[in-house]
């Protein structure tokens, strides 16, 4: 896609070490926000102020509340994570609500960020929003080449609109708005609800239950779909890198490499072993599998970060299970 650039990314300065920057993170209390808070504690630079807000600070579906909470902090940079998210089965039921909620939140945040002349705004897309009918591996530029999978049309289109807004705001107003695209995210402080969660937290919770109740584990679907999973702490480090260094107007995938893609069946085996579950495992093939694969190319990411080392999946799951068991009472279930 060819667009006139009003702002050449090469002209944008990276952080000047002693220039003060205020980074506002919306959706700051979610899974990724949680990981970011912990990583920032260790990696924060002296010139950086990091502020994490969540829905208690303001309802971003309302333009006035959005303006109030953002203008309170007058950030120079914004990491926009706030979103209605959920696993596939909930998406199918609530396509309309997810679409409208995200559309409101995103239009409001973008408008205010433009009005107060934020220097950079990074929002988060997701690989599930890419076309369903596509060749693999998926590259960043394929985003608009077809309709997304029907199970998440509301979520997918609301996220695709972030990409559209990035381009339009850049073209008309010269705003430095861009997006990063993680693959399936997992980690502590996720939503572990049995009905509505994504596959890893859903499994972890199910196994926990089955262990306690001494029942067989029933996994929805055939176990055949393939996924690249990224641990929340790894994504947090990549997002911090992006807010400091990444200025390309094109989106970038953040993911483990293609070779580290695993099947749901393999994932189940890891969760079962790390949880110490000894019971039977059964696959309920009457339940939908969702997309069979969504393999993304990490070529672009590796161009910038050839040596970044991801947490091995077994280790990430082990840590997530440990967090879940320690925080069971207060976890989102």
């Amino acid at each position: 896609m060819r667009f006139h650039r009003f702002v050449d990314p090469k002209d944008l300065p990276n952080f000047i070490m002693d220039e003060k920057v205020t980074i506002l993170v919306t959706g700051g209390s979610g899974m990724l926000g949680y990981a970011l808070q912990r990583v920032v504690k260790v990696e924060k630079r002296p010139n950086e102020e990091w502020i994490f807000i969540n829905s208690k600070d303001g309802d971003l579906r309302d333009i006035n509340q959005t303006r109030k909470v953002i203008e309170k902090y007058m950030p120079t940079h914004v990491l926009h994570l706030a979103s209605a998210v959920s696993g596939m089965f909930r998406n199918i039921k609530f396509n309309s609500d997810v679409l409208l909620t995200n559309q409101s939140i995103n239009t409001n945040v973008y408008q205010v960020c433009k009005d107060i002349k934020v220097k950079k705004l990074i929002s988060c897309l997701s690989t599930c929003i890419y076309p369903d009918n596509v060749t693999y591996p998926i590259t960043e530029s394929m985003l608009h080449n077809g309709a997304p999978h029907i199970t998440s049309i509301g979520y997918s289109f609301s996220k695709r609109m972030l990409d559209v807004m990035n381009r339009c705001y850049r073209m008309q107003y010269g705003c430095n708005f861009l997006s990063v695209i993680p693959t399936n995210l997992y980690g502590p402080n996720d939503n572990f609800s049995l009905e509505d969660a994504h596959v890893i937290p859903g499994l972890i919770h199910k196994v926990h239950r089955c262990k306690k109740e001494d029942t067989p584990l029933i996994v929805w679907g055939t176990g055949k779909p393939l996924r690249q999973f990224i641990f929340s702490y790894d994504l947090a480090k990549l997002m911090i890198w992006a807010i400091r260094e990444y200025n390309d107007e094109e989106n970038i995938f953040f993911s483990v490499d293609e070779d580290d893609e695993i099947s749901i069946k393999e994932l189940v085996e890891i969760v079962v072993e790390e949880s110490g579950f000894k019971g039977d495992v059964v696959f309920d093939e009457t339940k939908t599998d969702g997309q069979y694969k969504k393999t993304v190319s990490t070529a672009k990411m590796r161009q910038f970060l050839p040596d970044f080392k991801f947490t091995p999946i077994r280790e990430g799951i082990r840590e997530t299970i440990r967090w879940f068991e320690e925080n069971y009472e207060t976890a989102r279930t």
């Binding site: 896609m1 060819r2 667009f3 039921k93 609530f94 396509n95 309309s96 609500d97 679409l99 409208l100 559309q103 409101s104 239009t107 973008y110 408008q111 608009h144 080449n145 077809g146 309709a147 049309i153 509301g154 289109f157 609109m161 559209v164 807004m165 381009r167 339009c168 705001y169 073209m171 008309q172 107003y173």
Partner: protein
């Protein structure tokens, strides 16, 4: 209670525009006793604001809505303010559909455009192709805002059973258009230029090479077809409303018809330094023809003549 459920209160947003006024004319001529038509304009409510939108819906309590309100403009305006086209239209559409759902509106017909289809495509375009690729750069913002109507119609139907649908007209023309030479669409722009050539003795110059091809639909025909869609068309998926493929014409042919309508003597000039926009957007109306095989469209020459006469009679007050 008998009979009340059959009575329709039909709210038309964007009612003062090109299509809205055509629907007003046709509905007044038809004068059906079971239909009450209300035409809204931006002075009645700023639909970019949710509370204003809610207030107007609560005031009129529509059972049906024809949603035409949008920020629209020709090629050159889109190149200038792509972002505004996106944001304003997204806000308007979100608010209107949300209020329709809240008020239990029985049927909504929204208006899209063939310019929202993928740029890289095979022809003719049909309704199933909307999401098969990105739209033309020149109206990226507008196109996505309109595409989202299709997505929302499907999502609202999936989750709430709402009956929201949409029509996709090709290039519309007729009285009450925006005749601005800078910001208007190709047909009204040409008609205005024809007027200026006749009355101000300015050469009749067409922007671009004149080679792009379009299917033009007269606003009165579109009005009748939208009213049919509201009353009879039961699908959630959109329907293209267009003249047949064989009636596609080039901008050059249109310029010649405008020259004829104003009885101009000098040759038409072409400024090929100006952008042409999309070279073609040929749309298939087979779906429409399945439902209405015998519908007769107003011939282009006649529609242009009538529009030119309207502009002559209303030049002072016309939008330009």
């Amino acid at each position: 209670m008998n009979g009340i459920s059959k009575h329709k209160v039909i709210l038309v947003t964007g009612g003062s525009g090109l299509v809205g006024q055509a629907i007003k004319k046709v509905s007044e001529e038809e004068n059906r006793s079971d239909e009450k038509w209300i035409f809204l304009a931006s002075k009645d409510a700023d639909l970019r604001d949710l509370e204003e939108t809610r207030a107007i819906f609560k005031e009129y309590k529509p059972t049906h809505v024809v949603h035409l309100a949008a920020m629209v403009g020709g090629l050159y305006k889109h190149l200038k303010v792509n972002c505004d086209f996106l944001i304003f239209n997204v806000r308007i559409n979100d608010n209107v559909l949300q209020c329709c759902k809240e008020m239990g509106v029985k049927k909504v017909v929204s208006c899209l455009s063939t310019c929202i289809f993928p740029d890289d495509t095979t022809y003719p375009i049909n309704e199933t192709m909307i999401h098969d690729g990105p739209p033309h750069d020149s109206n990226f913002g507008y196109s996505y805002a309109k595409r989202m109507i299709v997505v929302m119609n499907r999502a609202y139907n999936m989750q709430y059973g709402c009956r929201f649908t949409s029509v996709i007209p090709t290039n519309i023309y007729g009285p009450n258009d925006n005749f601005s030479v800078e910001d208007g669409h190709v047909m009204p722009g040409l008609i205005h230029k024809g007027y200026l050539a006749k009355h101000k003795n300015i050469p009749f110059t067409v922007c671009g090479t004149g080679t792009p091809r379009r299917q033009f639909i007269y606003s009165i025909d579109l009005a009748k077809l939208i009213m049919w869609t509201l009353r009879e068309y039961d699908e959630i998926d959109p329907i293209i409303l267009s003249v047949d493929k064989e009636d596609e014409v080039s901008v050059q042919e249109v310029a010649e018809m405008v020259k004829e309508a104003f009885d101009l003597k000098d040759e038409v000039q072409y400024d090929s330094s100006k952008s042409d926009g999309q070279i073609k957007k040929t749309a298939s109306n087979s779906k429409l023809r399945k439902y209405l095989p015998d519908y007769k469209f107003t011939p282009l020459r006649q529609g242009i003549k009538e529009t030119a006469e309207w502009l002559e009679a209303h030049y002072e007050t016309a939008r330009k």
